[in-house]
């Protein structure tokens, strides 16, 4: 399990230290969850988000290493994640493939592609992002260290979450997108195409997952290695459910997982004597527990089109 390469220096208070590392560690999950929120709001679940994150991580690492500029890395990561998601969109929207099966194949594809093209980058050094303190805000006790002494990508995620919210709930495009995920036939009755908007949703979802992968490689791990995402993509998919398909709630959820991820190493540093591997399981256990508590309520707010996927078997509708 990888967490921030540098534990929060200078902060001895466990809670603050965990939160500082947690925001950093949760950012990659947040980007992926935001992307998955867009996709699922349009009625397409992408369990291959993990694969998109892997592609994003490698794309970012490779581009950053080629150009020396981590921002090109982020761009390349977004492109790589989006391209992989495009395959999913094609399979589901044009070929009528089962979403869950196609998503899992996507994960395999991402895993394989990144190990094929990633080998030269293992143990290669690149210029990455460093922390930038926001003048003034970073001086606030605790809060400043947690939120305003972070890397640029984490700041980007602060902006992206509200932006995704705005896109989904305050634009016509978002209206069409959510309509496609709820009742496509209503949109089609008024002459709108649901396929186009779903393509856009799945691909932009993959791009955001790619940025998440980029953050993981360029900020958290400062390295590329095979299968480095380690289930964060799957956590992101679950996170979307318990954030009730809401980008703002996803922020809180992602940080919670980030904190769970960061707890183990921080305790280790302090020799707390708790088994590390039980702590490593914590994010997944927390995800499950939160789902257990919230599922019934949350599933009611699920986009209708997703119910088709989740039901597994569907009652055939009359022709």
């Amino acid at each position: 399990m990888i967490v921030a390469a540098s534990t929060a220096a200078g902060s001895n208070l466990l809670v603050v230290a965990v939160l500082i590392a947690g925001v950093t560690a949760g950012t990659s999950i947040l980007f992926a969850a935001l992307g998955e929120t867009i996709s699922e709001r349009a009625g397409i679940i992408n369990v291959g988000t993990e694969g998109c994150m892997l592609c994003g991580a490698l794309g970012a690492y490779a581009a950053a290493s080629a150009t020396g500029n981590p921002w090109f890395g982020v761009l390349a990561g977004a492109l790589a994640g989006g391209l992989l998601a495009l395959v999913h969109a094609y399979m589901v929207l044009n070929r009528g493939a089962n979403q869950l099966a196609s998503g899992l194949a996507l994960f395999f594809m991402g895993l394989g592609l990144t190990s094929l093209f990633g080998a030269p980058y293992v143990s290669k050094q690149v210029d990455t992002f460093s922390k930038v303190a926001i003048p003034g805000l970073s001086k606030i006790p605790a809060i400043g260290d947690i939120f305003f002494n972070q890397d640029p990508l984490t700041y980007l995620s602060f902006v992206t979450a509200p932006a995704v919210w705005f896109l989904l709930f305050r634009t016509r495009w978002g209206l069409m997108l959510r309509g496609a995920g709820e009742r496509g036939e209503v949109l089609r009755a008024y002459g709108h195409s649901t396929v186009k908007v779903r393509y856009a949703a799945v691909v932009s979802g993959g791009m955001l997952a790619g940025i998440g992968g980029a953050q993981l490689a360029l900020v958290v791990a400062l390295a590329w290695f095979e299968n480095m995402v380690q289930g964060r993509g799957f956590i992101a998919v679950a996170l979307v459910i318990f954030a009730a398909w809401d980008p703002i709630k996803a922020m809180g959820g992602a940080w919670l997982f980030g904190a769970a991820l960061a707890l183990g190493p921080e305790l280790q540093v302090r020799n707390a004597g708790v088994n590390q591997f039980l702590l490593d399981a914590l994010p997944y256990v927390i995800t499950l527990v939160v789902l257990i508590v919230l599922a019934r309520k949350r599933l009611e707010s699920a986009p209708e089109a997703l119910a088709d996927v989740f039901e597994g078997s569907r009652v055939v509708s009359s022709p």
Binding site: V186, G191, V315, P319
Partner: protein
């Protein structure tokens, strides 16, 4: 037109060009003539009711006007200009709006968001405040009470309908077609809808309301046109000039040939097979769908259930079979109480059902005819942990022999069969069961040809003769009058009355169906 002489045409001389006029409209679906040589017009500022029984071709006609279907022959004029309505979008551009029975709304969206989908592009940003203000303004102009920020899923069905109407109007409609708008409404909601419609009429809109309910046509329409078998039989009548008997005569038309069978009298046993005692059942929307219904069926008795569709028939059917939980009251089958929503209780005591939507409720994709037969009664073909398929085949052959419904070959996948052939499979397995104590049949002859319908009716009588209690839900009053020992009439989920076919006529039943008091 060969039968011009049978058409009553009371249309007053035209003072102005009608908003829409159709001439010689004909539409076929394969062999079925859905609309034949239809001529009809709607004026601005009037409410025109299109009356007819189920299957008379009303919805087809309106879908031709809205561009969902395309006519095989005939022409459509809008404000005197011939037009080709090739799609709903074209219809909307011509100012024609339609409110479908299954409303075109997204339940998870607010009223404003729903309406926004139907409006022309208004830029990238969705300005909630502006859209909501626009809707409020339009709503108050129409005299509608609509909260643009409310989620549609929180609205009652009547409110949703007004949202749909508002949406149609805000998209620029000059004519509004309402397809059976009252079929899902409670009486007080009907009043609210009619008030809204009157408001629109006063604003000069052309309104078409499709219905098969006479009193509604009377209550709201300026003119009435009656369709039967795809043809116009009365055009543009002023409803105040004609009585109910005459109007129903137009709607129904034909004489009814009787079933030949001589029938034994129903059993006089003091213990009914089915005892429904004061049950209350909730519907899917959380409303009360069945309220305080009492009904006993003796062995060897066939009780029909009449009612306008959506008045609690489905919920009654499902409650008796243990598919829906009771809000109150009790149900017993042969003395066994149906205590909870568990279909196994009814099955165990010999209760079988023909569901109203066989494809959704009975058909399993991938399973063939034989497997569907086995499904109904796995216990009888058990062989260790397995299934005795040879015995199942024998049973199927017996059922087929007994019912004579000519089902498809046993290896055919049922989901791939046509609707009528699916229904044959369900009927064979249900009505061939000689041991059934209670047979519930919801619209058993839907989608069947005349011969098979007649055979189905004979089978229902055979089950009755073999001592089963039979409950028949049907939209066809003649069928009910022919087959039933008694007819229970449901209105708004309540038992409006129980009548004997020999003692009442169809008008009396119709009155009860419409909620008239006894």
């Amino acid at each position: 037109m060969t039968d011009t002489d049978t058409v009553i045409d009371l249309a007053t001389p035209e003072t102005a060009t009608p908003f829409i006029e159709v001439r010689g409209l004909t539409k076929r679906f394969g062999e079925v003539l859905a609309n034949s040589d239809v001529a009809f017009d709607v004026r601005s500022g009037e409410v025109h009711a299109l009356l007819g029984e189920n299957g008379a071709g009303k919805s087809t006609l309106m879908k031709l006007l809205y561009g969902v279907y395309h006519a095989d022959e005939g022409e459509i004029l809008v404000q005197g200009e011939p037009v080709t309505i090739s799609s709903p979008a074209v219809a909307r551009d011509l100012g024609i709006g339609m409110v479908f029975q299954d409303l075109r709304l997204v339940p998870a969206f607010t009223v404003a968001e729903n309406i926004s989908i139907a409006l022309a592009d208004q830029g990238f940003v969705y300005r909630r405040g502006a859209v909501e203000a626009q809707i409020s303004a339009a709503a108050s102009e129409m005299g509608f009470d609509v909260d643009p920020g409310a989620l549609v899923r929180h609205l009652a069905i009547g409110e949703r309908q007004r949202v749909e109407i508002l949406k149609v109007l805000m998209a620029g409609a000059r004519m509004v077609i309402l397809d059976e708008p009252t079929s899902v409404l409670a009486p007080q909601e009907v009043d609210a809808l009619f008030a809204a419609i009157s408001e629109l009429r006063a604003k000069g809109l052309a309104i078409v309301i499709i219905t098969h309910k006479l009193h509604e046509a009377r209550a709201i329409a300026d003119r009435v046109t009656v369709l039967r078998g795809g043809r116009i039989v009365a055009r543009g009548i002023d409803p105040t000039t004609i009585d109910d008997r005459e109007l129903i005569g137009h709607m129904v038309g034909r004489e009814v040939p009787a079933l030949p069978a001589e029938r034994p009298a129903p059993g006089q046993s003091p213990d009914p097979v089915l005892r429904v005692a004061g049950i209350t059942v909730g519907g899917d929307g959380g409303h009360t769908a069945v309220r305080d219904v009492h009904l006993d069926i003796a062995p060897g008795e066939l009780v029909g259930v009449a009612g306008v569709s959506g008045n609690g028939q489905r919920e009654l059917f499902e409650a008796v079979l243990g598919l829906r939980s009771l809000g109150g009251g009790t149900i017993t089958i042969d003395g066994t109480p149906v205590r909870k929503a568990d279909p196994r209780i009814a099955i165990a005591v010999g209760g079988v059902g023909i569901p109203e939507d066989p494809l959704a409720h009975s058909v399993v994709p991938g399973l063939n005819v034989l497997e569907h037969m086995v499904l109904a009664d796995l216990g009888s073909v058990r062989k260790g942990v397995g299934i005795d398929w040879d015995r199942a085949r024998d049973q199927l052959a017996q059922l087929d022999e007994r019912t004579q419904l000519r089902i498809a070959a046993s290896h055919r996948e049922v989901a791939s069969l046509s609707g009528g052939n699916v229904q044959r499979v369900i009927l064979t397995r249900t009505l061939g069961d000689v041991d059934a104590r209670l047979v519930l049949a919801a619209y058993p002859s839907r989608g069947l040809d005349i011969a098979t319908t007649r055979r189905t009716q004979e089978l229902l009588l055979e089950r009755r003769a073999s001592g089963a209690a039979v409950l028949l839900i049907s939209e066809d009053l003649d069928e009910l009058l022919e087959l039933s020992d008694r007819i229970a009439v449901l209105h708004a989920g309540e038992l409006a009355g129980i009548v004997r076919p020999g003692e009442v006529d169809r008008y009396e039943i119709g009155r009860l169906m419409l909620g008239g008091n006894e």
